[in-house]
């Protein structure tokens, strides 16, 4: 099985502050990895540096995506190569319809990869197919990106976008936060449907609840910028029971 993502000894600094301090992780096609950890442990920082956000500086180590060091690639180049980040806090873009946003995204990728622009017909077919996956309200498609969406609608919209872009590596940053149980089921169902032997998923979450619906192959605990423990899904249940405080104790020892 080939490797989609290999993170080696990753050190990442944000505004002079060292946040990731030697992180290692390997993800193969078809796998789902969960990353758990207390607030402030560096989970969102990891997703930002993977996606190539400005000011997230790699001070040591490297990120290999499909065997290529992507440290110097722009966010859009990473996106064209099949990386997708479902944001913890999706951003509002007033005046830009969801539809226009996605068509621009698809066509910019097609342009970059030397493919033809998507026809209006194919695009609309894709929209109707993919939006039903997460039960996205028809009205929301024509509304401005995330503007005035409820928390749950924003998260569904992230998964809708993910479905449209069909990524090879998806990173879901606390997609479960702020979702009620029904929405959680819908979102999880969407993610599970999109899962295949060819792609891989990183599920970042605070609670193990989500992992009842999206079952991970591996669970990692991120603490103070490092992965301090890895295991199978039973580790998530352990964490649920014991909380994160024992990590602090362990670290102190």
């Amino acid at each position: 099985m080939d490797t989609v993502l290999k993170i080696e000894n990753l050190h990442c600094q944000v505004q002079g502050q060292q946040i990731l301090k030697g992180l290692n992780l390997e993800i193969k096609r078809g796998e789902v990895h969960a990353i758990m950890g207390p607030n402030g442990s560096g989970k969102s920082t990891l997703s930002s540096v993977l996606a190539g956000k400005e000011d997230y500086e790699i001070t040591a180590g490297q990120i290999l995506y499909q065997n290529e060091d992507i440290g110097e690639l722009s966010p859009e180049e990473r996106s064209w190569k099949g990386m997708f980040l479902a944001f913890q806090y999706p951003v509002e873009i007033p005046g830009v319809s969801n539809i226009n946003f996605l068509r621009t995204a698809l066509n910019e990728r097609n342009k970059a990869l030397g493919r033809d622009q998507i026809s209006a017909k194919d695009f609309l077919r894709l929209v109707s197919e993919k939006s039903s996956l997460v039960g996205l309200d028809n009205k929301l498609k024509n509304r401005s990106v995330n503007e005035g969406f409820s928390g749950g609608e924003k998260k569904r919209n992230e998964i809708f976008q993910m479905a449209m872009l069909e990524p090879t590596l998806s990173i879901l940053d606390e997609t479960d936060s702020g979702l009620d149980i029904d929405a959680l089921k819908i979102v999880s169902n969407g993610v599970n449907t999109l899962k295949s032997e060819d792609n891989a998923t990183i599920v970042i979450t605070h609670y193990q609840r989500l992992l009842d619906y999206i079952v991970p192959d591996f669970v990692h605990v991120l603490y103070d910028g490092k992965i301090v423990k890895s295991g199978d899904k039973s580790l998530a249940l352990d964490l649920e029971e014991r909380g994160y405080d024992w990590l602090k104790l362990e670290k102190a020892l």
Binding site: E76, W80, F87, V91, I93, G95, S144
Partner: protein
């Protein structure tokens, strides 16, 4: 900004050559300078009636008594009015044989704007095939308009062929004494556009100076007069998105609109004069006076997309004289590099139940300064007048400025005036979000900016809106930081 007239002239001389303008040294040019003799010369060259000469001379006397306005939030070196040539025969662009002879940068821009090959040729002065030549298109349009009794011609033609209309309405909305640049224009204007829509007629097409300008040649002191007679309708487009180079530094136009009872005028502008280079050198000064007069139940809408000029000074306004009259102002003003814009509107409510809406979207990038200046005035008799103003500013950098100067004068207690204003900086998070989805930064900026300006762009006629959108994109290239 500190550059001299001389430097500017030198630079523009270089440019005018580069862009295929013929400077036309001997032909039909008045000596530089401004005095009564020059004005008499202009008037006689144009074979004008005595009353018009009188009008000009009177305006000149008024102008002599005035001094240039200093209240706007702009800094520039006042042009030397004695060093301008106020009359030359319509400029002839040098005919080029193919687009290969045109500045590639200009072509690149036009291509990005989606301007067709034929149109590119026309705009740059390349000889066009005569099959679908714009002149013949314009002629067939003219026949159609004439059938409806619509008059659409150059100002000079109107003076010759419809003097009674010109005499009746010219200066009726913007008197020569209105302001310094209006007075100057009234004294020395050379040409412009004239439009009259007869009673009850709905003009079936967008009237565009696009067509006319090429025939007549604009001047730096342009004059436009649009009259919509009772219950008529017209949509009028001015300017174009293609970059406009001009060796004239100062442009001081006057636009007067008259909407008689129950008439409607929609006036849309896309302004893209040469803004100067990225160091703030050169560029056109655009000092325009635009105003409309509304009769009973009539409506005037100004929609403008302003991206050009080094310095812009412009306040399209409405006098809502008749009861139930409606005035609207929708504006996007984008400034980049060292551009300065001071623009806005005046809504003067005179009649009862008059209503006005102001939507202003400023976008500042680079080191530019972008000001909104608006006046909402509710007169004593304007019972139940309503105004809603929304002025938003979007900043692209930390080095540019956005300013809002809303003035409200209310003399009638039954009036309702609402004003909302916001200032925001283009968000790193918004950009990252777009880029993560595969949209490169420049495209992301244009997407966000167009979304921000959408309310105004939606008011433009369709084909204009598409070009205007691309224009915003191009004007913002390399602007984030």
């Amino acid at each position: 900004m500190s550059y001299t007239e001389k430097e500017l002239k030198k630079e523009l001389e270089g440019k005018s050559y580069e862009f295929g303008f013929v400077t036309d040294i001997e032909a039909e040019k008045a000596p530089v300078g401004l005095n009564e003799e020059i004005i008499r010369l202009i008037s006689s060259k144009k074979n004008e009636p005595d009353w018009l000469l009188e009008y000009r001379l009177n305006a000149f006397r008024i102008w002599n008594e005035m001094s240039s306005p200093d209240w706007a939030h702009v800094k520039y070196q006042e042009p030397d009015f004695q060093n301008i040539c106020y009359y030359s025969a319509p400029k002839q662009k040098k005919q080029l044989e193919s687009l290969d002879q045109v500045d590639p940068e200009l072509l690149r821009t036009m291509e990005k704007l989606g301007i067709s090959m034929e149109e590119q040729k026309r705009l740059t002065g390349v000889a066009v095939d005569f099959v679908m030549d714009s002149v013949s298109v314009a002629t067939s349009f003219k026949d159609k308009l004439a059938d409806l009794g619509i008059i659409f011609c150059s100002f000079s033609e109107a003076v010759q062929n419809h003097p009674e209309l010109v005499k009746k309405y010219m200066g009726s909305v913007i008197p020569a004494s209105d302001n310094y640049y209006a007075a100057l224009n009234s004294a020395v204007f050379t040409d412009g556009s004239f439009c009259y829509i007869p009673k009850g007629v709905r003009c079936p097409m967008e009237l565009s100076t696009y067509f006319r300008i090429n025939e007549a040649g604009t001047g730096q002191f342009e004059r436009t007069l649009v009259i919509a007679d009772e219950s008529s309708y017209v949509s009028y487009l001015e300017g174009c998105t293609a970059p406009q180079r001009d060796e004239n530094q100062l442009h001081a136009a006057v636009v007067e609109l008259i909407a008689l009872d129950q008439a409607e005028i929609k006036y849309s502008t896309v302004q893209n004069w040469y803004p100067g280079d990225e160091n703030g050198k050169g560029g056109v000064f655009n000092f325009v006076t635009k105003r409309g007069l509304c009769g009973y139940r009539s409506k005037i809408s100004w929609t403008q997309v302003e991206t050009g000029s080094a310095v812009t000074w412009k306040y399209p306004s409405c006098i809502l004289k008749g009861d139930y009259a409606v005035g609207e102002f929708y504006s996007v003003a984008l400034t980049n590099n060292y551009q300065q814009a001071d623009t806005g509107t005046k809504m003067i409510h005179v009649g009862r139940n008059t209503k006005s809406t102001i939507i202003s979207k400023g976008i500042s990038a680079g080191f530019s300064q972008n000001s909104y200046r608006g006046l909402v005035k509710i007169g004593k008799g304007a019972k139940n007048a309503r105004n809603f103003s929304q002025c938003d500013s979007l900043l692209m950098t930390d080095r540019c400025g956005a300013h809002t100067f809303p003035y409200i004068e209310c003399e009638n207690p039954s009036a309702m005036v609402e004003h909302e204003a916001t200032t925001s900086k283009i968000g790193e998070d918004q950009l990252f979000y777009c880029m993560q989805r595969g949209i490169p930064e420049e495209k992301a900026i244009s997407l966000i900016v167009n979304g921000y300006a959408k309310e105004v762009l939606n008011k433009l006629p369709m084909e204009f809106a598409v070009e205007a959108q691309k224009l915003l994109e191009i004007s913002l290239e390399g602007s984030v930081g």
